[in-house]
Symmetry: D2
């Protein structure tokens, strides 16, 4: 790839940020509140817009319903546009009502299943209002004890709800199905792995695609294999980016294993799926429990950019030659040459090309935004997972 | 072991229950409330007393400070006695104050370290008031990102706080140090494994002992090895029993891997550490997120009893003979013979000997206690991790 | 299920044993040889026949090519019949030739891919000769280093080889595709999980089915979920039974986690897939590195029988009622009641019904077979993985 | 640290290479032989000397007994000196004799324990002859099945053998005890974790130190924590460097997770333990199953150098300031700044300073050594784990 092509690709890259990253989050042990945390969807969007303002590649904000429910979504969209961003994926939430103690769409109780499905369909209504193209489905459904419920019957119920939701999608709308190994269910999760999500999506049709959350796998899982496999099948719809050392830690993407993130982005580049129109949505999904949220999002975007830049720098021709020759160390060496490169100077230039400060973290710190929101956002209820 | 000795051991067995198991608990995603959940330390003790009333082997209740702080601990002790139980271990909590965002006793800020130490010392005061023999220390301290703090400096701070607390202990008081691999810290935990806890306890002295929480290990860890090793070293102070499939799931002990629980109890029996005066404290530490709490505690006590009964039934002589002979399948077979035995009839007899209903779950269900507390405990603030 | 139905099911159960379990095996550190180990396919079959003679449910022997290649497979089949058993699945081996250093069917070198495919096709020829219905495919193919080869190109090559083999199958022949997370490949494996195997089998057609080797998963994987899911999809072709604490330990099935084996067998029973004509093949695939091989196989068969008996004893009606009612502890209790039952007396009766000694281990030990083969099998080359 | 100090440290760094890395190795599935593989200890040393010749920091070769047993170790030492290297650590092997099927120093059979101890003592004799300072002890001892042997009794036997060996050490000799979670033992390993090794070493005395093999941990273990902890305790004696994605994969160090290697080296630098006289021995212990061995060793040395260079570049003052201030992102950012730096130019300069070619891989490839040994080493028995 020519250097121009690399820069073009980096300038065109799009990373979606989640509205909930700017609210409070934590563990079951404690949610630490932070000064200046948003209290409304508008304030979340304003914060998200800061991330785009300083990075230039994050102009899309995902919403989470009901956390971001407003009376007038068109108005929220206009507000977003004023801030320089737009509304992206609609994320459903069927895990925070007392009714969902034993599951939502897979609950043994048909009344609760209907309620959950109603929420999913409502979210498609919201998509119509916001012009969102993607509906993200993550189900916390599962069981905590062997025998608690019937594994197979729950699949039947899941399939039914997915089909009903799929049916409701408009022509330009997609359904993105996320899998997760465990948490909050601790024995069995109804969509635990990519195979399950893939099998359901395959039956539903082309508008159903799989979401890879990089923190939702068993230890030792080779995530870039899944990326490559789903791309080959035309079934990779989106990423939820974050990083983890142990479970679903939801740390900043690239913080735990930057080499893994590079390998993932390499598979994206190799399959020409970086293009904004590739059908793959690159979203952050993280919890900034102890660090300030806007800087953490900026840093995360930068981490994705660095991994991408390195992936773009892989000498594809040399790599293919070494691979074909069975030159194990040579092929590995080509990949590592790109990874070992310091791409920060290149990214500083890309930012300058975009008319941005080459150092987003420092520029944001200097902007005084953090101090301003801390001073202004007094009173009210800080946003968090429960609100 | 003669059948009489087995029954004697089972009747004499003591399992400690935690006050917080009767309050609400959950995951970061949702805490589901349940009807009848206690609102005060007294109501928690009353519920714990039910577990003892139906099992006969759970007469001790652990407190958690500040969740169970009362003005008059002597009075709380009298209340417990009236309910037929007594107050046991005092569990400290230095993880739920906003000050502890970056740690408690290992926090880089000396003011916060002093505050955390103050809490530990206050808990020894409470032990004096309750007559508790054991102080349980679990630190959520750690870091989420590489570089966030200095690993070694944090050990220095930890050692200092431990020494100051140890100093404060009375002659008949012990300090029990718990380790945990991760959560809520996601990169590095200051006491992540038994080796760390052991090394600190060794330096502190005889009154410092290690706690094994069965859910706090990396995947694949052989917990019974740690049990055997610490018993050999005279450094096993207590268990926090629960079970897990993935992380620190805090499911009912014995629910995820009953064979593992049996192997653990076998090492206890083999080292003659089941006796109530052995210095090993057997406590439950669980979260009943979706199941009713009192029955879940009863079931957990029963699971420990069943594993213990099987462990007591191991034919020690035959086992030793097969081991000495290098008879791999024979020795494994001796152990499995005990495990494969259905010990429920034996335990029904043990309960009858104690004047109890042989079927604790059914007896509790028939008692109407659940309905009574659901009806009576209206209003007020249900107890939970945050209160 | 009536007691008669339970016994009928246990008598009708069929477990396939692998010829290679009777040869030497070990780890990369050491293969310990044992006296009496077979030197020829015939001697392996003779040993396998002992397992059937003492258990009555293991009349089928899998072959492994080239380890069990003979000039006249019809004659080998007759020999098996004389021993009271028959030849079952044909297992392919494309991992032990120097050519396969960088893979077999996914090798970057087309010459080696052709060679590997030739072996697969030859194995179908052998199936024609033996009358085997199932071709088992396990590929050790993968890479050790990132960049070593192209993940996606290897999938293309894999798909091509699978299609060519599928094409060659006769009307009553099936292709069983096994997946494995890692080993011997240490970075990426070409068929690492059930999703990959499932996706390929789906495209190939009805005669392609997935094999679940119980030791081939990442830590924490819920295997019974995969069983239930594949049965619902009609895509579960076979098991390779064994057990593990860490990696692919290949210990005796049921030895590491008997509760897990029970949960797996429960899903089988629940889907009515225990029947010999269900299309699910239950095979042992184990390495008896330090224990004597024939007794270890007998014990393994017994372990599967015990798990099956417990699964058959689950009170389906009570379970469904508790599940429908959302009674978490009740439903779990129904499952545990079956698991906690001592089914050894029942299995002794089933054996007596079959005209067998109720205690297979003791009966085999008394038979003198072990002493006889140790005395007779002197000289020659003991069978092992390399031969 | 000044740039001069960084270069000085890099020039002074010492990495020990293992004689067995140049022999054949593999998995239980297959050992692929390679052309030119050494047949004698001398040839292994000659190959190891190549690694030093091209990197300048690897002048020490570990021996493995009995694989490297010779009649005259003084002569072998002289041969090494002629090649430009010297003999380092003596590695014991008590896992490859049929007698060790059920263990060596922990075997239930006292005769076998004596034999194993005899080997350990013989290795100290060899140390006397070679002038080696370190005796490396790794025991494959453990059990495959629960009940197979008594966990605690095996600890007693282990302690006895360690004490007898310790007793035999000369004043300037050390004993390095390695731990490993599993393999080849699959249920319980007698020295499974650092805590066990540490506890034994503590009792033995100052000459007993712990070895960290980077591939010997449970998934999710924070290895740099162990490094920091043992350094604080003065008990870290040596590393066995390699890398892994799954189990003990024994890939090239830094190949699987270069960021982890950097974090480990940062703890080394932070504790001033990089100095050759720090008492910490940095050794490679790897298996080059599919890649050529000498280049793989050179690449591994380079990987350690790169991680070290980055660790040396960490701005210690800025890091401490951010840590003290509780600036999570700032502190992490300081660490990442060093990690993100491309240190290959710096290392090229360090090599030039040493009079070496700045590109060791290319220089070795050009040297023709690989072709020469492939041509010359014809006939004889290639070295491997079994010889």
């Amino acid at each position: 790839m020519t250097e121009t092509a690399v820069r073009d690709a980096l300038r065109a890259q799009r990373i979606e940020v989640p509205s909930w990253a700017y609210g409070n989050s934590g563990t079951r042990f404690k949610v630490f509140s932070q000064p200046g945390v948003p209290r409304t969807p508008e304030e979340k969007i304003a914060d998200a817009a800061q991330v785009h303002a300083f990075t230039g590649v994050a102009p899309i904000v995902s919403l989470h319903i009901p956390w971001d429910r407003v009376d007038d979504f068109a108005k929220l969209g206009s507000y977003a546009a004023e801030q320089g961003v737009r509304i992206g994926t609609i994320n459903t939430n069927v895990f925070q009502d007392d009714d969902y103690r034993l599951g939502s769409v897979t609950n043994p109780d048909p009344r609760i299943r209907r309620k959950a499905l109603g929420h999913l369909l409502e979210c498609v209504d919201i998509m119509d209002a916001t012009g969102s193209a993607d509906l993200k489905l993550w189900f916390s459904d599962g069981t905590n004890y062997p025998g608690q419920d019937d594994i197979r019957a729950r699949q039947d119920r899941l399939a039914e709800a997915l089909a009903a939701t799929y049916e409701r999608l408009g022509d330009d709308q997609r359904m993105l199905l996320e899998y997760k190994l465990f948490e909050p269910a601790f024995y069995m999760t109804d969509v635990p792995d990519w195979g399950t999500a893939y099998a359901h999506c395959l039956k539903l049709g082309e508008k159903a695609q799989v979401v890879i959350d990089t923190g939702h796998h068993a230890p030792g899982t080779n995530i870039e294999f899944i990326v490559a496999f789903l791309l080959r099948e035309g079934k990779l719809g989106a990423f939820d980016f974050n990083s983890r050392f142990y479970a679903d830690d939801d740390l900043m993407v690239g913080a735990a294993d930057p080499f893994q993130l590079f390998r993932i982005m390499y598979e994206i580049v190799r399959a020409d799926a970086l293009r904004p129109d590739s059908g793959v949505n690159f979203m952050l999904d993280q919890c900034h429990n102890i660090e300030p949220k806007i800087p953490a999002q900026i840093r995360s975007v930068m981490n994705v950019q660095e991994a991408t830049a390195k992936a773009l720098l892989v000498d594809a021709e040399a790599l293919a030659a070494a691979q074909t020759a069975g030159d194990v160390l040579g092929a590995n060496g080509v990949l590592m040459d790109a990874y070992d490169t310091d791409v920060r100077p290149l990214l500083r230039e890309v930012r300058a090309d975009l008319g941005l400060d080459p150092e987003p973290m420092a520029a944001y710190a200097r902007s005084g935004y953090a101090q301003r929101i801390a001073a202004e956002r007094v009173g009210g209820q800080q946003a968090g997972w429960g609100a």
